[in-house]
């Protein structure tokens, strides 16, 4: 295999930043799971809180998207 050490670093860095996306998945699962746990205890209050659920998921997911962005930048921009 050919290539210089900077190329190697780019691929390793992109791989490491992909870990962040997995961690964001944990966050999103946590939000959704806790919502479901609360919603099953009090189903009548659940319908009003779906907007809050999506906002929570969006905030948790945004940070995972940032790490995906870092991976993209390493692969294509740096």
């Amino acid at each position: 295999m050919e290539g210089d050490i900077a190329e190697l670093g780019k691929f390793i860095g992109a791989g490491i930043s992909a870990i962040g996306m997995g961690l964001a998945a944990l966050g999103v699962g946590n939000v959704a799971g806790n919502f479901l746990a609360g919603a099953l205890r009090n189903p009548s209050a659940a319908a009003d809180q779906t907007a809050t659920l999506f906002i929570g998921i969006a905030f948790a997911e945004a940070l995972g998207i940032f790490s995906f962005l870092v991976a993209l930048l390493l692969m294509f921009a740096v």
Binding site: A51, F54, I57, A58, F59, A62, I65, L69, L72, F76
Partner: protein, 250 residues
């Protein structure tokens, strides 16, 4: 650059090739006035929305037909969202939020068509949308509340010693809003479409093709959901920011 890498790698085509902006006519340089594939798909988005909302409701039947009920459903959905999240005085800004929702939803969905270009996968497009929301909400906050809009950053319920630290964090998080607002949409669209293309590229290898086609179908189903949810999230965050501008103290 992407095409060079594709010839070296094992895939038939590069998954990021679909995001290349190219002129519609010829292959000259792209200037600000050049009609590109982005221009085409932005125009198609506007045309599709106009077809649904203007032509669909033209007859204005009391018992709506198929197209009219979809248009009414979209209107009612966004109207209720603005009312629930921003409150009744947020309804004054409903037309702008409806425009944002319909534009993002249609741009996302049109991007899912085969051979289509996803305009919302480019940060250049989403950053304009997010910056417009950010500037509008900030100006609105100062116009409606005057200098007391800055009280949003000074958390009255916290202990006095903590307030300067909280104010710093609040100011930073306020200015990160347009960044995360735009990158969330662009990142979700880019990631989803790239994954579909990666599966599609594996379909060229005979041993993997049944699995790859199954993967494409499954991801496509997920992407339809994601396209709607991202349009919903963008709009509902706009409503949340609008609520902050209208009532900075609660």
């Amino acid at each position: 650059m992407a095409t060079e890498q594709a010839s070296e790698g094992g895939l038939v085509f590069h998954p990021m090739d679909q995001f290349i902006v190219s002129p519609l006519f010829g292959d000259g340089a792209v200037h600000w006035y050049t009609p590109t594939n982005v221009t085409l798909w932005l125009a198609l988005t506007v045309a599709a929305i106009a077809a649904l909302l203007v032509l669909g409701t033209k007859q204005g039947r009391v018992v709506p037909g198929k197209t009219q009920s979809i248009a009414e459903l979209a209107y009612g959905f966004v109207y209720k969202m603005v009312e629930d999240v921003s409150g009744r005085d947020g309804l004054k800004y409903f037309p702008y939020i409806m425009t944002l929702f319909m534009f993002i939803l249609f741009a996302n969905f049109l991007g899912l068509l085969p051979m289509a270009f996803t305009t919302t996968s480019h940060i250049a497009v989403t950053a304009i949308l997010a910056m417009a929301v950010f500037l509008a909400v900030t100006i609105l906050g100062f116009v409606l509340n005057g200098a007391s809009f800055l009280g949003m950053f000074w958390v009255k319920s916290a202990p006095l010693a903590l307030r300067p630290v909280l104010a710093l964090i609040e100011v930073i998080s306020y200015f990160v809003r347009p960044v995360s607002h735009s990158i969330r949409l662009a990142g979700n669209m880019t990631a989803g479409h790239a994954v579909i293309k990666v599966f599609a590229a594996f379909a060229g290898l005979a041993a993997l093709s049944p699995l790859a086609i199954l993967g494409v179908v499954a991801m496509y189903g997920l992407e339809i959901l994601v396209c709607f949810i991202q349009a919903y999230v963008f709009t509902i965050l706009t409503c949340v920011y609008l609520k902050d501008a209208l009532h900075p103290h609660h």
